[in-house]
């Protein structure tokens, strides 16, 4: 597998470190004594709690309902008793209303049976409704409610489903393990999404550093549908929606538009697998494979972890922290979020938990910009981070907006390459916040 592969322009090559966990089959993490389920685990409006303290819940029960168009249900991942609904540390760094459930130590933790129609016997429109009921959100990291994606605007027909198996963030191997361990679920999910969209073509993009996953996905691909596997160059951020669409179709999603503007729709492999599970066993989205990695954890591995499990319990199950732990990150090292508390729960969007040692996340002093232009050569959406960084420092946010700050997806490539260690993507994240605050005012 070599030759000229299609790719996108720019991007970076951070050290991968996937060998720490890529060969370790996923195992189920023991159920903790207590789970914390924030009402906001997705992009959009927080869910509204349906339970009250003292309520008995079974695994898979709905505990919060979606509010509004872009929102998602929350289900409990373990049977037990609702202790309280209170403000609790959230992986985003804020306090969020969360349902605290004391897990029943005597429960078998079998899911309460749930009736789901056969995927091929209901009208296609009903599929997205079932997906919505199961609380499915994009598992690639953004946690955008999947059912919303599956109803593209009438005037923007989708002609291709792109399935994201690139997993370009260093360290993470959860999508890799999903493809190896549940290839039938991944393909079945693709089949269901294709039916819901009324189209027949899907392309699974997988980076070349996962040759075994490419092979397995090829071998298990259905013969009656146009589903192909596209090997991808190993380059960050290959898995970003716009980059993947550009690579696979050659089309560029215009600024501020949805992928459907160029006739594409992207779903992560773990998302399609969880969609398939909904129609197979009726299981809503209550757990997923997460990678626990980094040199700061004693036993790196891939784990099937119920949502709401506290970081503390995950680390304990993985043998604890090593002495030179320096930083704990939810997600990948390029876009993930630093954690300040061991009490934060893992959520739907948590693909990985990284415990980084001092050597892995060293930083050098910030020096002045020397206008080397490396950030411009790294930016996958063709921005000029050098100019925007200078504008951010003097708080000229409007001007940044004119320089297409809105296109910045905070992938971190510019910060990664900057030889002067200027925290460019951090400046851009803050500028975006300032701009939206100014708009709201």
């Amino acid at each position: 597998m070599s030759g000229r592969l299609p790719s996108f322009r720019n991007g970076v090559h951070p050290p991968e470190h996937k060998e720490l966990t890529s060969g370790i089959p996923s195992r189920r993490l023991p159920f903790p004594d207590e789970i914390i389920l924030p009402l906001s685990q997705h992009i959009g409006r927080p869910a509204e709690a349906l339970v009250k303290p003292g309520d008995r819940v079974e695994r898979g029960d709905v505990i919060a309902k979606a509010t509004g168009l872009i929102s998602s249900r929350v289900h409990t991942s373990a049977a037990g008793t609702v202790k309280s609904i209170e403000q609790w540390p959230h992986p985003s760094g804020t306090m969020q209303p969360s349902v605290r459930i004391e897990v029943d130590p005597h429960s078998t933790q079998l899911q309460r049976p749930r009736l789901v129609p056969h995927w091929d016997e209901v009208p296609a429109e009903q599929l997205s409704e079932e997906i919505s009921k199961a609380g499915i959100v994009g598992l690639g990291g953004a946690a955008f409610p999947s059912h919303v994606k599956m109803r593209p605007p009438e005037d923007q027909p989708v002609d291709v489903l792109i399935v994201n198996g690139s997993e370009c963030e260093p360290y993470l191997t959860s999508d890799h393990r999903t493809m190896l361990e549940q290839p039938e679920y991944v393909h079945q999910g693709i089949r269901i999404v294709l039916r819901a969209l009324g189209i027949e073509r899907a392309v699974i993009g997988i980076e070349l550093n996962k040759p075994d996953a490419i092979e397995v996905m090829r071998k298990t691909a259905p013969t009656d549908l146009d589903v192909s596997v596209q090997p991808l160059k190993v380059k960050y951020p290959q898995g970003a929606e716009k980059m993947l669409i550009k690579t696979v179709t050659g089309r560029e999603v215009p600024s501020g538009k949805l992928p459907s503007a160029v006739g594409a729709l992207v779903q992560n492999v773990a998302t399609t697998a969880s969609i398939a599970r909904v129609f197979d066993t009726g299981e809503p989205l209550i757990e997923r494979i997460m990678t626990v990695s980094g040199r700061g954890v004693k036993q790196p591995g891939n784990w099937l972890i119920p949502f709401g499990t506290k970081l503390r319990d995950v680390i304990d199950a993985c043998g604890g922290m090593t002495g030179d732990i320096a930083e704990i990150v939810f997600g990948g090292p390029m876009m993930g979020q630093s954690q300040a508390s061991l009490d934060v729960p893992v959520l739907k969007a948590t693909g990985g938990i990284l415990l980084l040692s001092r050597d892995e996340c060293k930083r050098q002093d910030i020096l002045p910009c020397i206008r080397c232009g490396k950030c411009i050569d790294a930016c996958p959406v063709y921005l000029n981070p050098q100019l925007m960084g200078a504008l951010a420092r003097v708080e000229r946010f409007e001007e940044m907006s004119k320089n297409n700050l809105g296109d910045c997806m905070l992938c971190g490539c510019c910060s990664f390459v900057c030889p002067s260690n200027i925290p460019l993507s951090q400046l851009f994240a803050m500028s975006k916040m300032q701009l939206s605050r100014m708009k709201a005012a």
């Binding site: 951070p14 716009k242 999603v253 215009p254 630093s338 996340c361 063709y382 921005l383």
Partner: protein, 338 residues
Amino acid sequence: MNETTVKITAAPHVRSPESTTRIMWSVVLSLVPVIAASIFFFGPSAVLVLGASTAGCLLTERLFGTRRDSIADGSAVITGLLLGMCLPAGIPLWMAFLGGVFGVAFGKLIFGGLGQNVFNPALLGRAFLQAAFPVAITTWPVRGENWWALAGDNFALPFMTPTVMDAMTGATPLGILKFSDDPVVTPVLNLILGSTGGSLGETSAGLILAGGIYLAIRGHLNWHIPVSILLSVFVFSGIFYALGLSPFSPWFMLFSGGLMLGAWYMATDMVTSPVTNRGCWVFGAGIGLLVVIIRIWGGLPEGVMYAILLMNALVPFINRATQPRKFGSVRRAAETEE
């Protein structure tokens, strides 16, 4: 679980090992062979002149630098060495020192220090010396028999007329071909090896090329700039040579004078060159054209310094004109734009 201290930082949590300091020092490293060659060709005077110009830069940076320990970033050392490289071996040391002081003070610090300046500090220092001491800076020593002999009156006191030993001065290959009554074309091979008259670092095109290619491979200089300069010089001088307007053949143009040093080490100064690759093509092409024009028709034998300084001044405009295109702004974008 025992108490553990972790840090909270914004993404990305990993960084490339590249650093500005490392870039600067690897530029210094790549200059070592060129320095060695200049010592080989010009004797102890080379050490003295390079030392004096570098001392001028370092002292100024130390006294007036905008950041603490700004000497450690290596940029002042580069300025000093590059300035020394484009001075003749026999120049009085106080002038070399003064050039370093001027280059760092007025070429860099007055703009706010590292990263803020418009003009290449080393070239600005040289331009100052050229204007202030036109004779000393164009007095090219010819190597004598004795390697240990100084190449000129290095120890002349400030503002005293240096004693020029007639027998020991010669002219550069460019000067010979342009101004002499008896023009001689220096063989290109001699230019590459460096066995010709000229400034300290101008004379060994081969080693400069090697150092530059090393930096380009390490990603410490943008190869678009030297390639574009050299291409542009070759093409334009080729055209004028073919038309009979110029005595310089394109190959002679490429390897003579300060072009190699300028193209690989001066024009590529990240601070004073464009930020986009497209901009670098424009920048280099402009320098090449100006070099050819000044060399053929200008009042000076050499034009690399002014060519680069002039294009330095245009960098903000080049940057503005060569911004990257907006992602998604071509192809189907037109159809979907409201």
